[in-house]
Symmetry: C2
Subunit: 336 residues, 2 copies
């Protein structure tokens, strides 16, 4: 789970007014607890009824950086897992031992899911970027235990818009989608941005962040679901369009960022910087704004002054629910 979603449990309770005022123009803030709840209930129920007597699904979170935020996030994840009956263990190791720790966990039959808190080596600046040690580590994790969907097999399936893979028994199993992008999809479904048949057809979305851990897969997924998605990063703009094979693909665009914002019914921002704020004057009334950064990428008061806004300040609770859901999927697909 990327840095952007590392957030401690929220203590302020915000009203979920999505049910009370769907058609009015009143702006509101969505606490995503309501989105996570049914997924967590389903997971808890499955574990209690199906896996009650068998070996419980177990996930290991590997802490190989010195990041206190990662430690806090690991504690938070452990608590969330315990509530549904998933066994969660934190394993601290030196970054120089990380690769071998991953191989040991791959072999360990009592472990069904592995996650690594990134960045580990990614935090060192390098003379040449491009191919990274962290992505090497992500590929060392067995497909059968990759709860975060970060290995090449799952990322490729996502970019090819293939939803299923085959396990060793030749049975079709669902591919694993990365947790934060998947959480955003679930939040949009909750907000009824999805049409049951056409999904996101006709919708324009802007995603600010094109990293391989959040923004790029998210934009591809939303485009796979029929949206037109503008993709903004530090000094580049692209657009994701669906190709003839039905895959959301990166395409060139000349559009300006401000114009993309003004066209968008949904804006998702994941800029890991305290100072960054999306300019509210370019956001149209009735927009859904989802913040996936641990910093607030918009001035809330200013945003909510406009009519019909839905502001989602944090997605972490749904991200952790998706992490657990991915673990169950792996458990059922590969470890039974």
């Amino acid at each position: 789970v990327p840095q952007s979603t590392r957030e401690p449990r929220s203590r302020d309770i915000r009203a979920d007014m999505s049910v009370e005022c769907p058609s009015t123009k009143k702006s509101y803030v969505l606490d995503v607890s309501v989105v996570a709840k049914p997924y967590l209930a389903e997971i808890a129920d499955k574990i209690a009824k199906k896996f009650g007597k068998a070996m419980k699904p177990k996930m290991v979170g590997v802490l190989a950086n010195e990041d206190p935020f990662a430690k806090m996030y690991a504690k938070w994840t452990k608590k969330a897992c315990e509530r549904t009956g998933i066994v969660y263990e934190t394993l601290e190791c030196k970054r120089t031992d990380l690769e071998d720790v991953v191989y040991d966990l791959n072999e360990n039959k009592n472990v069904h899911g592995i996650m690594v808190y990134y960045p580990v080596f990614g935090s060192f600046p390098s003379f040449m970027a491009g191919v990274s040690m962290d992505s090497y580590i992500a590929n060392c994790i067995s497909n059968e235990k990759d709860v975060e969907g970060m290995c090449f097999t799952y990322i490729q399936a996502l970019y090819q818009n293939r939803r299923h893979l085959k396990n060793k028994k030749g049975l079709e199993v669902k591919s694993i989608l990365p947790c934060t992008p998947l959480a955003v999809v679930k939040i949009l479904e909750h907000l009824k941005a999805y049409d049951s048949k056409e999904k996101l057809k006709g919708k324009t979305i802007t995603v600010i962040n094109r990293s391989q851990i959040v923004g790029h897969p998210l934009a591809a997924m939303l485009c796979n679901d029929n949206a037109e998605v503008f993709s903004k990063d530090i000094d580049s703009m692209f657009v994701f369009k669906k190709d003839q094979k039905g895959r959301g693909r990166l395409c060139e665009t000349e559009i300006l960022f401000e114009d993309a914002l003004e066209k968008s019914a949904i804006i998702i921002s994941g800029v890991p910087s305290k100072g960054y704020k999306v300019p509210v004057k370019h956001i149209k009334p009735g927009t859904i704004f989802i913040n996936v950064s641990s910093h607030k990428n918009v001035v809330e008061e200013e945003l909510l002054k406009k009519p019909g806004m839905v502001y989602v300040p944090k997605v972490g609770k749904v991200t952790v629910a998706m992490l657990q859901r991915n673990l169950l999927r792996l458990y059922e697909g590969y470890h039974q």
Copy 2:
């Protein structure tokens, strides 16, 4: 082949004095043409005698960035290939089409090797680095056609110090090593830095650059061959040491860069910056200095003032010879 080795053919002829003065203390500059020559002769001979009537080995270089330097390097590679009898084709495409172009080449039975000129997407700064689009593309290339040894399978084999893999027929084939690091090894062999039995045992080496395309695999390879290797990047130092399983592994170190230089009999520098110069005052007499950057990372005149220095200003010719050698290895291992 990384940016650092993109250099046009050298026109100045430098004397190779490694044979004439091995035991004297005179410093000299090595033109690596002499290192490349026997490999190129062997490749040409093999193609003429073994593959003369069959389909000639063919490599496609994909240009998906707008980098004029990459274009020049592609032309240079084409000429080098034509001299040995390898068919080399350049394919220009939009970066947004790159993934599908790679898949088409994977399927094309007339093509035995694929190389992509990086960085493509890597040249865009991103809000979160770590896992990159360029490394995704590198993994899209079939193992059977990956002439640069950049896909996960080959990098993992290197870091695990496994020299062989099995092909689909179950036959053992040699793994593919990345071209620039392999070129450095061949240059060191030429300079008799390798002992026929103990290889680099007892030697201390400093590698400046820890990118996944040059410095990191190079340091691991030299350590696999028994050297102690200090690894320097922008603001971090590590050391590669051999573990109990015989693998060169990244370890923590407290050593200062200057002290590492002073301990080193071999220094390899790959800093892609015009202004960067390794401080000569910390280099001891009799050191081999290999420059793998397209910029000169040392002041030549100053370096050569010290006794017994061997200065290798460019490695590109050997890199391209290794690229061709890798192609033949793939051709023989997978395409016959």
